[in-house]
Symmetry: C2
Subunit: 315 residues, 2 copies
């Protein structure tokens, strides 16, 4: 018999979805309040929920065997002060479509000049300024996991050329050119001809401020930087300086060092920044519940779980 | 020996592109002024250019054998007062990519709420309002020629369901369901579950005001109408009424009965209309010149020309 703690803002939805799967030998306790879970914390061998909520309960979960996170990013559970004697799996393979809709909404908005055209319309002005075209443009992806692969696939659909930066993997056929090694060494090679640079890197000690002044200097002034990944990957002050000085055409930013973005942050005042308030890809219960259900069946059958996180590597 | 009149705003570009093809037995005269072409009009057996310019010279072109239009729409040359004793070919197969970038820029902008998010940003407001998703949504295409097929292909890429309205053809595999017959008969079947309706119909006597009050009534209030095709296909007053009354979520309009759109037109004042000033797909000489070059080679070899227009049908 297993007992799972579902700890999530969507606890009710997740309970309904997991119950509907009729998983064998599973007792379910669901709540959105960490404090409610504390009393019986030692009785749960499994947990499923938001890392930011679970981190409060994990220290008391002495029988913990497996945690399925509802998010891709599991930073709150990587705190070295927390125990790590359980299997941690995250949400993967479910955000690619949303990310692709997000990134290409803004990429196409840029090519079609839709904000400038909107301003013309509000001024009552017929505006036949020609748009530009996506075909043949170059997109660079920092990170080519399942999200990067989805972006590469849409980029190829629109006839773009795709460059991918990864630690070592070269598994996505939609990437035309791969780059590895310290980004400081390859930044000119990787960045100098890009029209768009998209970061979908996880937030780890090794990716912190990977997008720094040196990388931004390597990009051409026509380039637009898009970050639907993690805020910590970007040196925000270096990015603000590049945008302010016109060394970058623009930035579309979903994630930040501090969220909500503080009211006095310079990004609010830069006209070539688009702020999308951490909405790029949401963890929708109908997408995420199947990850827990599938992994639970693997657990019961004694098979390895999918999407295991390496605590040291951070993803 | 043949003599072609290139009559176009881009006469110089077209001359350079045609010359570079080293076509046999061809003399080229290129100008952007119809008046300059009038003196020798009878000496040209071929013409290549914008229908709106060519219409002034065609009546004097007594030796005319073939006209290659640089546009898809050839309405100016269909005036029954003009002679029709020549072969008319139009530009086809070259606008699909631009149209796809245009339509999906605005479709994705709608799903991702990018104008509302822009307004939030200008107010300095963190706006975590969730976006909606394109996957599973339904798009209806009025017309499935090469442009409609390109739109259907992109719609499938994003996981949409595609309905196509055509006179008879069912050649595009990306269309899930076809509808034919008078639109008055099938409008409920075709329109009632659409999230997006896109018109890429040619402007002919049979398509005039095809998008009328009855069709608009069949659409659900969540539907967005997009017209990158021809203005005459739409009953503008019926569309304005539907938008004003909230019976449609919005409209993205590239083409109009009168262009530029008159300053006092109600479309300027409707908040759920996007006006894009006839920029959806432009005739770029590097795309269009190959159509003339390929057809000229066919002419010389005695083969049938591509993309022949039926003067009666109008496309």
């Amino acid at each position: 018999m297993h007992t799972v703690l579902i700890l999530s803002r969507h606890a009710r939805d997740y309970r309904a979805l997991v119950e509907a799967a009729h998983l064998p030998d599973l007792e379910i306790v669901a709540t959105s309040e960490p404090s409610e879970a504390m009393a019986n914390a030692a009785s749960f061998d499994l947990a499923f929920g938001e890392p930011s909520l679970l981190r409060h309960v994990v220290p008391s979960m002495t029988a913990l065997r497996w945690v399925q996170a509802t998010w891709a990013g599991v930073e709150p559970l990587l705190d070295p002060a927390l125990h790590r004697d359980y299997t941690l799996t995250n949400a993967r393979g479910v955000f690619g479509e949303q990310m692709s809709e997000y990134v290409f909404a803004y990429v196409l908005a840029h090519e079609r000049k839709i904000f400038a055209r909107d301003a013309s319309q509000r001024a009552g002005r017929w505006d036949p300024e020609p748009p530009t075209r996506l075909r043949g443009k170059r997109i660079g992806l920092l990170g080519v996991g399942t999200i990067g692969a989805a972006l590469a696939c849409t980029a190829k659909h629109f006839g773009m050329r795709v460059k991918g930066y990864t630690r070592a993997s070269e598994g996505c056929a939609d990437v035309d050119e791969y780059f590895h090694g310290p980004l400081t060494d390859v930044s000119a090679l990787f960045g100098s001809d890009l029209d768009y640079l998209v970061s979908v890197m996880p937030d780890t000690s090794q990716t912190r401020h990977l997008v720094d002044a040196a990388l931004l200097l390597a990009l051409p002034p026509r380039c637009v930087f898009i970050n639907p990944g993690r805020g910590g990957v970007v040196d925000e002050m270096a990015l603000a300086a590049a945008l302010h000085d016109g060394r970058l055409a623009g930035a579309v930013l979903d994630v930040f060092d501090t969220e909500p973005l503080p009211a006095d942050h310079i990004f609010w005042r830069l006209p070539n920044v688009r702020i999308t308030s951490h909405t790029a890809a949401l963890s929708a219960p109908p997408d995420i519940a199947p990850l827990f259900i599938d992994n639970y069946r693997r657990l019961v059958r004694g098979e390895p779980l999918m999407y295991r996180v390496d605590f040291e590597r951070g993803y």
